[in-house]
Assembly symmetry: C2
Homo-oligomer: 661 residues x 2
């Protein structure tokens, strides 16, 4: 059978090294780390990865973490973090399980602890080197997630003993979903209400030891495994209840809140900064959207190029040649391409702003920047985790029946991904918060306030005729939509933000689209790429803008940013660009340079020989000709005695005649 992928690869005219360098400025490091991961006997993904039970997944992830501890002894923290990100493409659960300790636990201490506390808990004890302490992050309760201020766990100060007593007052206050709590953690940062002298000072973070050196639970600590989940089964999420667990006064993380020996509490107005470090999860999810999106779109596009169906019996058509199939997949490829630079931008912003925060120089400017980052990252996290979920689902459907097979990787991909829409800020909550801020920024901008760089566009003036052939107008058209929706929202706003929640959601999504377009446009203009590669990347940029204009056509038309004829023109342009991009699709997926072990799909291998790969994987993992372990149930059913016999003929005519008169 013909191997279309190799054939098209041989004919590719674009230089994938150049494209790869455009997408990933860090590409040399990335290639080095990929090589180390896929050649490591424990870190590489085993062939039976998709067949493992929950218990097996958990053991394997513990083994991978043990293996990573050997790497962390030999490298700096930045490289280790990069290794985790790349490892997480093929195995997101293990990266989460580790991030619970070094990011969530670690950042809670970095963001809330004094310098001495950071030094002790993270460095002296060895936490960040995976020694001694394995921490977890005990914030969420059974009854409260998004509404952090309403957590009900209590930390009551005892001035006589200079201790806090941690208590779970009722079932709803049970700490829930706590990653690592079920098995791996011996310490936690617990978010609890600080009560001193009868006064409730709100929710503060405390370090609480959960288990002793032998991993026996400390007295008063009650923990259980929360059990099975939709995905990421390798993570040992647990619940925790505290019954009079006493911790020293010094275990309160005291950067923003201090308590004297007598129980006098000192709060600082900068407490709003205490959650800043948690932004890392949110911005990382934008990067995850890029990294995971690239993996899954590669699978579905390679399959679409290699798979034939219909057409003539002599030469069936490759399914990617069907225009609907192109329309279903290629815009998501464009999404992934735009997410590359956008994720790098938001992470660079995060690193710069948090660096300034820890340096503590211009605190007013830092707070201003942080607030902007909160808004942009909320919009980007929510919009792009949603879109990536759609990308995976569409990729799965585009692989037809085989997409439903575990070895396509797409089913597991979907269920593992789904939590991204919910954790570290529920997408809808984040999006409507971002949308409200955008409306407020717009209002402030109108009154002459200076806006952050991500929101400057809210005060710009735009040409009335946004020309379709002008690359910059493909950003501006979104700016105009956002401004008009913000104006409309203010018009129908009835004093309750609830009255404009749908408009807020729309604004958040549109802001993300605009952000991705602007970032990509600037990168295109920067001279990082030229020639045919630049032409192709321009087409990707155009496709992205046009495709999402079409998706949001209702709003564009309703708010008169476009008219119908322009929309019809845009729809035709989409078809044209899809045709232009068609010959480059192999190159554009190869350009991600993901090793097969990272793609981990029987359908998406580099060699394009997916029928053989798939059959080999299926037979290697499942054997041939085995009988069911429960065979007797099947045979007993099919060979069971007749109904009369089974009932001992007790309803037969002859019996009934004996029982009658």
């Amino acid at each position: 059978m013909s191997n279309f992928i190799q054939k098209e690869r041989a004919q590719t005219s674009i230089n994938i090294d150049k494209i790869n360098a455009f997408l990933d400025p860090n590409h040399e490091k990335t290639e080095k780390l990929f090589r180390e991961i896929v050649n490591d006997p424990i870190l590489s993904t085993p062939k039976n990865f998709y067949d493992l039970t929950k218990a097996q997944q958990r053991e394997l992830s513990a083994r991978k973490i043990e293996r990573l501890s050997a790497y962390i002894d030999n490298e700096d923290f930045d490289e280790f973090e990069e290794r985790m990100v790349l490892l997480s493409i093929a195995d997101p659960a293990v990266a989460t399980r580790l991030a619970i300790n070094i990011h969530l636990f670690g950042n809670a201490i970095k963001g809330n602890g004094t310098d001495d506390q950071i030094k002790y808990w993270l460095y002296e004890r060895g936490t960040l080197k995976l020694r001694d302490i394995y921490g977890c992050f005990a914030m969420t309760e059974l009854g409260h997630g998004s509404n952090v201020a309403q957590m009900q766990t209590r930390a009551t100060y005892n001035p006589d003993r200079q201790t806090f007593t941690i208590n779970t007052p009722d079932l709803k206050a049970t700490k829930w979903w706590i990653g690592g709590a079920a098995h791996s953690s011996n310490h936690a940062v617990v978010y609890a209400r600080l009560i001193s002298k009868g006064e409730d000072y709100g929710v503060k973070p405390f370090v609480v030891q959960l288990r002793d050196k032998n991993f026996n639970l400390l007295p008063g600590v009650s923990i259980g495994d929360i059990g099975s989940k939709m995905g990421r089964e390798a993570i040992d999420n647990g619940w925790i209840q505290f019954h009079n667990v006493e911790i020293p006064r010094e275990y309160l993380l005291q950067k923003f809140t201090k308590i004297d020996a007598d129980g006098t509490v000192h709060l600082t107005p900068l407490e709003q900064l205490s959650y800043s470090a948690l932004l890392q999860g949110r911005v990382t999810m934008v990067l995850d959207s890029f990294r995971q999106g690239a993996r899954f779109i590669t699978i579905s596009l390679r399959y679409a190029i290699g798979r034939q169906q219909f057409g003539t019996p002599q030469e069936e058509n490759q399914i990617i040649n069907y225009s609907l199939h192109q329309y279903r997949l290629v815009p998501y490829l464009a999404l992934v391409y735009l997410l590359g630079p956008a994720s790098q931008r938001v992470i660079a912003d995060y690193n710069r702003i948090l660096g300034e925060l820890y340096a503590g120089k211009d605190i007013k400017k830092t707070i201003f920047d942080l607030k902007n980052l909160f808004v942009s990252s909320a919009s980007l996290k929510s919009s792009n985790t949603w879109l990536t979920s759609q990308l995976i689902d569409e990729s799965r459907q585009a692989c037809g029946g085989h997409g439903y097979h575990a070895y396509s990787g797409l089913g597991r991909g979907f269920v593992d991904w789904s939590v991204q829409q919910t954790w570290e800020g529920d997408n809808n909550v984040l999006a409507i918060n971002a949308g409200r801020s955008i409306i407020k920024y717009y209002q402030a901008g109108q009154k002459g306030a200076k806006l952050g760089v991500d929101f400057l566009y809210l005060t710009q003036k735009f040409d009335k005729n946004l020309k379709s052939d002008d690359l910059k107008s493909l950003i501006d058209i979104w700016s105009v939509l956002i401004i008009k929706v913000a104006q409309h929202a203010l018009l129908i706003y009835n004093g309750d933000w609830e009255s404009v929640s749908q408009e807020r959601l729309l604004l958040s999504k549109a802001h993300s689209h605009r952000y991705l377009l602007e970032t990509f446009y600037n990168r295109l203009q920067s001279g990082d790429v030229s020639g045919e590669e630049k032409t192709v990347l321009k087409s990707i940029y155009q496709l992205y803008s046009y495709y999402f204009i079409d998706k949001f056509a209702g709003s564009f038309l309703q708010f008169d940013v476009l008219d119908s004829s322009r929309l019809t023109h845009i729809q035709a342009e989409i078809k044209r660009i899809l045709g232009d991009l068609r010959p480059h699709l192999v190159g554009l997926t190869d350009a991600f340079k993901y090793p097969d072990e990272i793609i981990n799909s029987s359908l998406g291998g580099y060699n394009g020989d997916f029928y053989n790969n798939y059959f080999t994987d299926v037979t290697n993992n499942n054997g041939k000709g085995d009988k069911a372990p429960y065979l007797s149930i099947l045979t007993d059913t099919l060979t069971r005695a007749s109904k009369d016999e089974l009932l001992s003929n007790s309803r037969s005519k002859s019996t009934l005649s004996k029982l009658g008169e």
Copy 2:
């Protein structure tokens, strides 16, 4: 803590019995069967259902089938089928595993066999009573799914021995995805190319025995388990290869194709009818959309009513009171309500038309009706399995973090559901086929041809001013959109149907919306319901139409069916109706009358006490305080020796000085 569900239930003013009777005319039978299922010790869902491994799921489903064999000995086939449908709400995989035998295998024989063949294979041997034969349906191959005509398995006739030799010519021709093949089936209907006297007569169905009485594979039959899937792990899908497997001439199913002893083949022009019986799967999926949709929207709405978040600390707001939350869920409740009557209509059509087909009276009319049913069912199956998938995903997200827990039922619900978009007609393929037919019907109607009842609207004239307060106009507005899109498609059609595939997709979706609205409208007019219940059902009907108009606003505006101000009005109407429906949401979900064992969700129980239910389920299934079975990996990591010690100090200064100069 307050139990809002019970409180709101006590205040419900609508009569749920009346609503239930409206939704399900067969409700007395349904209630009887539900009672039998949930009280049966084997058929009811075990508490640890979501924790079972693939191996355990398969054994449990075999046990359930064994148990069902006791029922089938005592009831007629219609009641048994109804039992399967209701059982499948909580456990879709077991119903599929059974349907493979009695529907797919059974219908292939009913649709293609002579009367004698039907009598022998299905009745005399006992197949439909789950005796002796367990059949599977071997159509799909590794290389071909939707394109049935290109299946490559061969059945070559040997006139000397009056037999066929079945062969799998290459890897791509391996039968794949065959449900029941891995373990449970001893016979198959195999679709293979009939070759006689060197001529290829195309793909025909043959009965082939796969396993002997002891379930050993017959010579030449090679079978394996295809392994793990995204969902429905209880089904033992397998692959089959045939190597010179000889079957008697009589095993060809000969209703439409006959072969003489000498190998002369007789085809009939009515062969197009041979796939009619397979429509059962497709129309059943519309019913599944109703039945499963009701289950999942009940979970998310009960949770939304019971869960509080934000608002004031004294009394946090129920999350259903947030307008965005209503907008996310209540339209899907409306979808489920409209799917009730629509699914009953399409199933009634199917039963009537297939009845007429088997009776064989007016074959020309039957073919006309069948063709219309193919189109409507393709549109309904694709649109509503997509929408139900969105319903489940939105429900999962609307339950926040707890929605991601296995015991919410929503994760399993999603993965089990996902195959519905793909099997028995890939949704995109079905939808664009339906869309093409709609364009052709429109064209034919313009030329005066008589259209089927589902498509009469294509020739109607509509008032230019579709008034929003007129219930009937909420159907007509969709008719107008469909006609305008069909006109537009004909305008841009370039001779290749590919050029209008997106328009065809849109037409298919719009046809389904119109069909649901029309059916519900007629039911509302029929006098089946009155009073406050009718008022509420009218609101549901309006919400459905308005919500999807807003979702398709781009098309409605582009094709000038609406203008912006009317759209703005409709958006305001949606908010108003959501408010009107708010007090009735408990009643509207209770009205499905699903027992808790069918809902099978820690979050969606009738008593509304979901925190306690959830905690109890978690601790019962997962214990408390257990250490990890792999504890030593964790402790070995945290207590490992220092890097220097691990490397035997071989890189220490003192060692290096020994090794140096």
